[in-house]
């Protein structure tokens, strides 16, 4: 059978189990679009390639499986770059397929030629420039295998137009790419870990996003209960532990709670699982958990010792390691440590007015949101204060229940990621919490959402500012505000309606929560423009570069430390 590169690519994606791809065509990729037209794969036409990248991320973050985005050469490929870099920093499996000018033109500064291969090197796990139709048979399965193996991440595949149109006499199809098996863990390492835990007086479990990717959340929760150790989470691990677990201490670090950061000062054994000691989590790394012996469990060997040298490291799959550990570890009691944990937690609980007193209080609203949506809902955020308020106050009730751009912190993530989540989890309520700054970065995808008619609600916490920028200028630049306030206030509800989506602006004086609830109860997409107070801050806050014990708290108290 003679078949061209575009048909090979299409069939390989079908065989890989890909049902939906997101993208936007241009000249060099047209042979592939021609083949896609007669494929079972659904194509979501975005309005900007960054939207395609984040839609793919939304699908991948929801399912744990690699998702696909497409772009043409040149500006199509450069528009994908932010979404690929974002996937890289958050270890999200994704295959980004771009077209390239024909090989005969590569290197001639041809129209819409850009060195996509070079651009993708530092922001992908691996990347390919495919040189013949035959190479596709090897590269495509391998791309999926690499994206999903070990520490997951994005893979870029750049395909010159002549590779898409070139033909091949096809023999057999290759097997679809599958994740590789994780390295095995030696029993004596598990024994050593069990002994360290048994000996520890004040252990703390520190979860990172790896615990979600490894589907190890349930076992991490079991470990907390078994050894009676408090458990803290990075932004990326929110949802791993149910919020009603008494020993769950929420987020640590820059915007973590006081109780959590103080407790970490007292631990003698820190068990890091799928966490990378990121500076937003550790504060000044040299002063993080000063008295602790560190155990580091990670699938990426290069993370071990990168920031903090562990006493014991276990290189492997977190779910497997925790399974083996729990099989040997008897229940333990630590009444004093539990008492100390609960005491700190009670003393420094997040404070916010009740919904009756102030229904649109930023933190309060994020807490209340949970009661307005089904418990299996998926929340996405953009980047800024609203993201941190969600992280602090919204009780994420299941793994993959919160999708947020952690490592790169890309404004513009929220809306397309919500579309992707909804495509991957049909029927679930998806809510994108965004800011009046961030929504503008991919607002064009409202058109895509309108066409797909998905149950995605967008709630803009509108403070008429780049709020987090304002906050930094207030705290660290002597209130010399510059370029953080928007001079014009667009009518977002009208904009949504212009795209064919329901749009409402909440009247804060007329039972706002009831208005929001009413809108959320109606089917289909909706944009809710919700005014919040201007100038509110995300607190506590550890100043960048400071140790976590130095937290800026309530304005009148300035710095607090213990």
């Amino acid at each position: 059978m003679t078949i061209n590169g575009a048909q090979i690519l299409t069939t390989l994606l079908e065989r890989q189990g890909i049902k939906i791809v997101a993208g936007l065509p241009g000249g060099p990729i047209l042979p592939f679009y021609d083949a896609l037209k007669s494929s079972s794969i659904e194509h979501v036409l975005v309005r900007h390639e960054q939207g395609a990248g984040f839609i793919a991320q939304g699908m991948a973050r929801t399912t744990g499986k690699a998702a696909v985005c497409l772009a043409s050469s040149g500006p199509g490929a450069t528009n994908l770059v932010t979404a690929v870099a974002d996937a890289y920093l958050d270890s999200i499996p994704m295959v980004a397929i771009t077209a390239q000018v024909p090989q005969s033109l590569i290197g001639t500064d041809a129209f819409q030629e850009v060195d996509t291969y070079g651009l993708m090197i530092p922001i992908t796990k691996h990347n390919f420039l495919v040189r013949s139709p035959a190479e596709l048979l090897e590269v495509i399965p391998l791309a999926f295998s690499i994206a999903e193996s070990g520490r997951q991440g994005p893979v870029s595949v750049d395909i010159p137009k002549d590779v898409l149109t070139g033909t091949l006499e096809l023999g057999e199809w290759p097997e679809p790419g599958r994740p590789e098996k994780a390295p095995a863990i030696a029993d004596d390492q598990i024994k050593e870990l069990a002994a360290l835990i048994t000996k520890a007086r004040h252990p703390i479990i520190y979860l990172g996003g790896g615990v979600i990717s490894a589907n190890a959340s349930a076992l991490a929760h079991e470990l907390t209960r078994r050894i009676q150790a408090p458990i803290v989470s990075t932004l990326m691990a929110l949802g791993a532990i149910p919020p009603d677990e008494p020993l769950y201490m929420g987020m640590l670090g820059m915007h973590g709670s006081k109780a959590t950061n103080f407790l970490l000062e007292e631990t003698d054994l820190l068990i890091a699982i799928g966490a990378r000691f990121d500076d937003r989590a550790t504060g000044k790394a040299a002063e993080f958990c000063p008295t602790a012996t560190i155990v580091h469990i990670d699938i990426d060997r290069a993370e071990i010792g990168k920031i903090k040298q562990p006493f014991l490291s276990l290189h492997g799959d977190a779910n497997e390691i925790l399974g083996k550990l729990l099989a040997t570890l008897p229940a333990q009691q630590r009444p004093d440590w539990v008492r100390r944990t609960l005491e700190l937690k009670a003393a420094h609980d997040l404070r916010m007015p009740s919904a009756a007193e102030d229904p649109l209080h930023p933190l309060g609203f994020c807490r209340t949101l949970a009661s307005l949506i089904p418990s299996d809902s998926i929340v996405t955020t953009d980047v800024g204060q609203h993201q941190m308020w969600i992280a602090q106050a919204y009780p994420v009730r299941h793994p993959r229940g919160l999708l947020t751009a952690g490592g790169l912190g890309s404004m513009g993530f929220g809306l397309p990621a919500a579309i992707g989540a909804s495509l991957a989890a049909p029927g679930k309520r998806v809510v994108c919490i965004t800011g009046d700054g961030s929504i503008m970065m991919n607002i064009q995808e409202l058109a895509t959402l309108a066409e797909l008619d998905l149950p995605v609600a967008i709630i803009i916490m509108n403070n008429a500012h780049l709020g987090l920028v304002r906050q930094q200028q207030e705290l660290f630049y002597g209130q010399r505000y510059h370029a953080c306030k928007f001079a014009s206030k667009p009518d977002f509800a009208a904009i949504a309606r212009g795209f064919g989506i329901r749009g409402v602006r909440i009247d804060p004086n007329d039972d706002p929560l009831a208005q929001i609830q009413r809108e959320l109860a109606r089917p289909g997409p909706v944009l809710i423009d919700m005014p919040i107070v201007e100038g509110a801050k995300v607190l506590p806050m550890v100043p960048p570069g400071a140790a976590n014990r130095v937290m800026i708290c309530e304005p009148e108290k300035a710095e607090c430390s213990c």
């Binding site: 291969y117 070079g118 090197i121 530092p122 796990k125 691996h126 990347n127 390919f128 420039l129 690499i146 990426d300 060997r301 290069a302 071990i304 010792g305 990168k306």
Partner: protein
């Protein structure tokens, strides 16, 4: 600066060198010199890197090992960093002394 040698075995294709040098640039690791010799049929190459002998060396090795086209990484403390100086001597001497460059390359391969 104290230096040491890392030996890599890599898949030989056009992007491999960019991945390796890109890694050094992106992670702000020092790379002093580089020597690459194709092996056997040319499907793989051996690369010798002259790098700073600093505490971060272990991290450099681990990051290199993660690259898909890098098949193995090991330290060659037994080889002298002078290898590269010899190579340069031969190079400077030009056509009159090509033998010393060839010797250095063989020592690496």
């Amino acid at each position: 600066m104290h230096t040491t040698l890392l030996e890599l075995e890599v898949r030989n294709h056009p992007g491999t060198m960019s991945h390796i040098t890109g890694l050094f640039a992106r992670r702000a690791f020092n790379l002093e010199a580089i020597l690459c010799v194709p092996l056997g049929t040319g499907a793989t190459s051996r690369i010798l890197l002259l790098v700073a002998d600093e505490p971060r060396l272990e991290q450099v090795e681990k990051q290199l090992a993660k690259l898909h086209d890098v098949l193995s990484v090991r330290q060659r403390a037994d080889l002298s960093p002078d290898l590269f100086r010899l190579l340069d001597d031969g190079w400077q001497a030009g056509a009159t002394k090509p033998a010393s460059a060839a010797t250095a390359a063989t020592a690496a391969g």
